[in-house]
């Protein structure tokens, strides 16, 4: 029994878009993968409502976001710390929440991190480009959500809650993204130009950097001590992966994000490991960042552990919802 639920958006935050985990196979065509800046939180939100982890959801950056569904829906909010209320009642993040028809769901401003992910059980109807709902502003595919919009969700039945108190019936092993107070430490592996900048290893390992206000989904700009390469000729523009840590001609560091320009010619002195890239999507202006060098084996191990936690959560959620007969 699939029904279409309408969600009426009454507050839209500063920058809220449709989003998913991004495009595959598009970078060969000159279109960056794009997708959720914090992939982990987006995947967890989808898993918690019984969706595929790359299903379309909402990415909310700044301000407050509120909506009211016209039928019961299952939602989950992950990502940054924030306040979540349903009809004014405080409601936990990182958990599936049944929202009764006509209730107002409201997300407050972000604290600690930057972006919230709001997943709704079922299929969120959204335009797609090259197989994905992820926005691409450069190609005029903004996917913006505005106040007054009505979103459509094709949804199956909603899992049960406790009939009297509305408390959740499940306790899932949810791997939250840790967003500690103070300085965040990111793991680095060596880059092609590490050796061309003598002293950069020690400098990065012992310095603290501050995320600058010019940062966006193309890249984080970090203020702090830098060294410039010596005797490097002109670098012919080449492909650069997400997480590349570049030293431009000015005195700053740039860590490339998922909407980077695909080719560049700046020296790359390190790469942020894939497992640490989710934090890049939560690091707002003023956040202090430190670095720690790891080898490739440790980088891959970190990623494997993170993926296994997602797999475990997904298996538990699927069996719980299958037992209720509500799997979408």
């Amino acid at each position: 029994m699939i029904r279409t639920v309408a969600l009426h958006v009454s507050e839209a935050g500063w920058l809220s878009t449709y989003q998913d985990l991004g495009r595959t196979g598009a970078e060969a065509l000159g279109v960056p993968c794009g997708g959720a800046a914090d992939q982990h939180s987006a995947a967890v939100a989808n898993i918690l409502v019984g969706n595929a982890r790359n299903a379309t959801l909402l990415e909310i950056l700044g301000g407050t976001f509120a909506f009211t569904p016209d039928a019961d829906v299952l939602v989950a909010v992950t990502g940054t710390e924030t306040t979540l209320t349903v009809d004014g009642l405080p409601t936990p993040l990182w958990e599936p929440v049944v929202v009764p028809a006509g209730s107002r769901v409201r997300l407050g401003p972000a604290t600690g991190g930057l972006r919230s992910y709001l997943a709704i059980g079922g299929e969120l109807a959204a335009p797609r480009f090259l197989g994905s709902a992820a926005p691409d502003a450069r190609m005029r595919f903004p996917q913006l959500i505005a106040r007054g919009d009505t979103l459509g969700v094709h949804s199956g039945p909603v899992p049960a809650t406790h009939p009297d108190f509305g408390v959740p019936l499940y306790r899932f092993p949810v791997p939250r993204l840790p967003l500690p107070e103070g300085t965040w430490t990111l793991d680095l592996v060596e880059g092609p130009e590490t050796a061309a900048v003598p002293g950069i290893r020690e400098l990065l390992a012992t310095s603290t950097y501050t995320v600058g206000p010019q940062s966006d989904r193309v890249g984080l700009r970090l203020d702090g001590p830098v060294l410039h390469p010596q005797g490097l000729g002109e670098i012919v523009s080449h492909g650069v992966p997400v997480g590349a840590l570049e030293i431009p001609h000015s005195d700053e560091l740039i860590i490339l994000g998922r909407y980077r320009t695909l080719t560049a010619g700046y020296p790359i002195v390190a790469f942020v490991t894939t497992a640490c890239q989710d934090l890049l999507g939560q690091a707002g202006p003023g956040r202090t960042i430190g670095f720690r060098w790891v080898d490739e084996a440790a980088a891959v191990r970190g990623l494997r552990e993170s993926r296994q936690r997602l797999d475990f959560l997904e298996a538990r959620v699927k069996s719980a919802y299958a037992a209720c007969g509500t799997s979408p």
Binding site: G30, G191, V236, G239, P241, F271, V272, T274, E296
Partner: protein, 252 residues
């Protein structure tokens, strides 16, 4: 048809999820030829674990899932793939599609036309004639699916702007070095703008959004302002003479 390249490309890890293949041929033309063949070979074979590819002019970034394949295993597979394909992966391995692209060469839409002509020591009319005589080849799709072309064989390489322009219109024909590119969407560029096509070269509502691919060939033909207005907004389709552009415009 072509002999195998004499210079083996290098493979370097780029973080925990990518490998860079770079050509080592001593001359730029050789490097580009090697990488063209390498790109076609890797695209065709897609070793297990490969997620995406980013083409540079003289390199290819292979992005992979390190939980599906290790860096070492993928590097070995890629070396085998490149070896196996080199003998038949020359520029003639796939038949290119030809494009004829109408361009208005006029100062009103081409702010750098006069400067480029002066740099080449030619008057504007001769520069345009020269540019229209080139047969260019699309070497890769750059940002926002822009066709990056080789073969703008001017006597001297075209220099870049000292100050990049912040907002160049869609359809702008831009040159730098011996390369040309078409701006698919309005945006910034440091390349010199020498003309503008009225055709839409990328439409995200279409599947695929462009009708060209790497390896295809391009020739530019000068048109006048009334012709520009007549063709404005039509979608670029393959091998469409200017007069017949209307037929292709409505195709799905």
């Amino acid at each position: 048809m072509t002999s195998p390249p004499a210079f083996e490309p290098t493979l370097t890890p780029y973080g925990d999820s990518a490998l860079m293949i770079a050509a080592t041929d001593p001359d730029p033309a050789g490097r580009r030829r090697t990488m063209g063949a390498a790109r076609r070979a890797v695209e065709t074979r897609r070793p297990h674990g490969v997620v995406d590819l980013v083409a540079g002019l003289e390199s290819l970034l292979v992005e992979f899932d390190p939980l599906e394949v290790s860096t070492e295993a993928l590097a070995t597979l890629l070396r085998l793939t490149l070896d196996a394909h080199q003998p038949d992966a020359g520029p003639d391995a796939t038949a290119p599609t030809h494009f004829t692209i109408p361009v208005l060469f006029d100062d009103a839409v081409a702010p750098d036309l006069a400067e480029v002509a002066a740099e080449q020591g030619l008057d504007q009319a001769t520069l345009v004639e020269r540019f229209a005589s080139f047969s260019l080849s699309i070497s890769l799709l750059a940002a926002a699916m822009a066709p990056m072309m080789d073969g703008a064989a001017f006597d001297t390489p075209v220099s870049r702007c000292t100050l990049p322009r912040t907002d160049v219109a869609a359809g702008s024909i831009m040159v730098a070095g011996a390369n040309a590119i078409i701006q698919p969407f309005p945006g910034p560029t440091g390349w010199k703008v020498i003309g503008r096509t009225p055709l839409r070269i990328c439409d995200i509502a279409r599947t695929p959004p462009t009708s060209y691919r790497p390896g295809d060939t391009v020739r530019f033909v000068p048109i006048d302002a009334p012709e520009y207005d007549r063709l404005a907004g039509r979608f670029l389709t393959a091998d469409t003479p200017v007069a017949d552009a209307a037929e292709g415009a409505g195709a799905p």
